[in-house]
């Protein structure tokens, strides 16, 4: 379970001060799929960054499985992130010069998974996204959809409990985008992984269990079964 309690985040100083998050409270149950919806600049990305410990809000608590990650030291936050979370981005951020295998291997290396355990996990993850044929291909030779699949393989390889997706279909055409969405939701259901999708696409948001609408750093409305 992820709980955000009265989280506030401000950017800039004095005159240029900008409240990206203003006293936000939110509870996300385990295994749910949540869409964070809002226009650009609404604070939806900041919400994701705060919830994942990438950003440090100056007020509030972020409690994941009973522990406030804002109390952790940076090193512990890093370890926590590498063991329990994963990310998918709009522009994929796969390393073009590396092979698919080595792209997927990165989170395992960061988490310190021993070499002999890696291969099976990597092959399994690539199989899950249908890229098992591309094991040795360079990421730059893949199509956009394949790149995002690779990014998903990289995200799921270490069995994360929480999966953050920042506009996962933003750079893809509708057909490819749909395939990626299906992949994400299937994984969410099958593995009971909490899926948090940041998007401005209402169609994608509708497919989630829960929608959180945000603007001007405040949650305007929460909809969905479990909220």
């Amino acid at each position: 379970m992820i709980e955000l309690r009265n989280v506030s985040k401000t950017y800039g100083k004095k005159k240029n001060e900008f409240r990206a998050l203003d006293d936000v409270s939110l509870t996300i149950p385990d295994g749910a799929s949540v869409a964070v919806v809002g226009k650009s600049g609404s604070g939806k990305s900041t919400l994701m960054h705060a919830a994942s410990g990438l950003d440090r809000p100056e007020a509030g608590e972020i409690v994941i499985d009973g522990e406030d990650i804002l109390q952790f030291k940076p090193r512990a936050v890093d370890r926590f992130r590498s063991e329990t979370m994963s990310f998918i981005f709009q522009s994929f951020f796969v390393q073009g010069n590396e092979t698919c295998y080595n792209n997927v291997s990165l989170p395992l290396e960061i988490a310190g998974v021993p070499l002999r355990e890696r291969r099976a996990k990597i092959v399994k993850a690539l199989k899950a996204v249908g890229l098992e044929e591309k094991l040795k291909s360079r990421a730059r030779d893949l199509s956009g959809g394949q790149k995002q699949r690779l990014a998903i393989a990289r995200a799921i390889v270490n069995d994360p409990k929480i999966l953050f997706a920042d506009e996962p279909t933003g750079n893809l055409d509708s057909v490819t985008g749909e395939a990626i969405e299906t992949l994400l939701f299937e994984y969410n259901k099958k593995h009971k992984t909490t899926l948090i999708i940041v998007t401005h696409d209402p169609d994608l948001a509708k497919k989630c269990d829960m929608q959180v609408h945000i603007s001007d750093g405040k949650i305007q409305k929460k909809t969905g079964a479990k909220s």
Partner: protein, 451 residues
């Protein structure tokens, strides 16, 4: 993240930017080449000097003179006080060792033998069956160093020639136009001329009383003597052994006899320019040397001589080495520049790695290891080129400088090269410090926004 994983990723990142990596490495390679070459040349020069000293001087011997050469040279500009036992030698006025000095040397504890340097000046020498008269230096055979043999047989190490034997260098056979083997068993005649003595007043009076004016004149007359020796062996030409190349060698007893004959009645009778003291095995040569020095004589060991040569070699090596280091310093800025660009180029990659939980420290390591790889590649290229070029040029250098077969000027010592490469990796890591810090400090949120 495991060190090995970071190293592998660093290596792959560099492999992606081959051209840039290669060019940056090349800058280091220039410095590495110079450093490797200077190390190799220094090592070669030291080994060569060592070999020269070993084939000319016994390590258990001390070269003793009345006063040190340096002292002598220092005074050569001013006036020098007259001394009874002074002699001209090699254009320098040198105080001679007296027989008392020799006796006191023999008394020093640990001294095995004392061999004074006998100066034998033959007017000419003549070979059996050849009419031409030649001039030659005549030297005592050094039993402590085994000279290379061209023909005949040398006495075993440590043994002297017999009194009527001689050894001549191979070059003499060439001059004579005969083979070295032909000279073995032939006789060699030394024609010695004893210059007139300076008779004392009593001697003059006695001679006058005995034989009148003629007898007195006879006193001043020079006399001559022919000494016939048998050639036992011909020494081979050696590029490292100087003594073996240009003198007739005779036994120490014969040399003493002839020197005494030549100097008898003159002021240089039983006076010696120098003496070689052989120290007993197992006795520390330094102890003997300091005892000799304490008695007011100058003493020099093989170690001192090599020390003097090594100092010179080290200075020259240091200069070349310094240029190499300068080149390396210049290349450091190349690494900094390359790594900075690399950080900028891979901003999103760094952001992603941090988002995935890679700690700052590991991000910094990744870039430092990349720098270390560049240092390693540069060092390996420089050392490799130096090794290949040096090995290829060694025979030519040996030939040009006539170092003698088997002697190479450039000697590569693997651990020196390894040490240099490790050093370069450290230098590269230091150079990569600032860029790696920049990478480590990148804000992942900012970095991931970049596209």
């Amino acid at each position: 993240m495991k060190r090995l994983d970071i190293m592998k990723r660093a290596g792959r990142n560099l492999a992606q930017a081959k051209g840039r990596t290669f060019l940056t490495s090349l800058a280091i390679a220039v410095g590495a080449f110079t450093v490797t070459a200077s190390l190799a040349a220094g090592e070669g020069a030291r080994q060569y000097a060592d070999q020269i000293i070993k084939s000319n001087v016994d390590p258990q011997s001390v070269y003793v003179t009345k006063e040190s050469m340096r002292q002598n040279a220092a005074q050569s500009n001013g006036l020098k006080e007259y001394s009874e036992n002074q002699s001209q030698y090699g254009g320098m006025s040198i105080e001679m060792l007296s027989s008392d000095d020799i006796a006191s040397l023999k008394a020093v504890e640990g001294v095995d033998t004392v061999l004074p340097t006998y100066l034998i000046d033959a007017q000419y020498i003549q070979f059996q069956g050849i009419d031409t008269k030649y001039t030659s230096d005549i030297t005592t055979y050094d039993s402590t160093v085994l000279a290379a043999t061209a023909a005949g047989d040398m006495p075993p190490l440590g043994e002297q020639l017999a009194a009527n034997e001689a050894v001549v260098p191979e070059s003499y056979a060439e001059t004579l136009g005969v083979s070295a083997q032909d000279l073995i068993g032939k006789t060699l005649t030394l024609h010695l001329v004893k210059t007139g003595k300076t008779p004392s007043e009593t001697e003059i009076q006695a001679a006058f009383m005995a034989g009148g004016t003629e007898a007195v004149q006879a006193l001043y007359l020079s006399e001559s003597k022919d000494v016939t020796l048998t050639i036992r062996a011909v020494s081979a030409q050696s590029s490292t052994s100087f003594s073996a190349s240009s003198a007739v060698f005779i036994s120490d007893t014969k040399a003493e006899e002839l020197a005494n004959y030549l100097t008898e009645g003159t002021s240089s009778y039983q006076q010696y320019v120098s003496a070689t003291v052989m120290v007993e095995d197992g006795v520390d040569i330094e102890d003997v040397k300091s005892t000799i020095k304490d008695s007011g004589l100058a003493a020099l060991t093989a170690k001192d001589i090599s020390g003097m040569i090594f100092t010179m070699v080290n200075v020259l090596q240091g200069i070349v080495f310094g240029f190499g280091v300068l080149a390396l310093i210049a290349s450091v800025f190349g690494i900094i520049n390359t790594q900075y660009i690399s950080v900028l180029e891979r901003t999103s990659q760094i952001g992603l790695m941090k988002a995935l939980g890679m700690p700052r420290r590991d991000v910094a390591k990744l870039f430092r290891y990349e720098a270390a790889w560049i240092g390693f590649i540069g060092g390996a290229i420089g050392a490799g080129v130096a090794y290949v070029a040096g090995t290829a040029m060694n025979p030519w250098i040996t030939d040009t400088l006539t170092l003698g077969d088997g002697n190479y000027l450039l000697i590569f010592v693997w651990w020196q090269v390894a040490l240099m490469i490790v050093g370069l990796m450290v230098v590269a890591i230091v150079a990569g410090w600032l860029p790696s810090r920049k990478a480590a400090r990148l804000d992942p949120i900012e970095a991931l926004r970049t596209e």
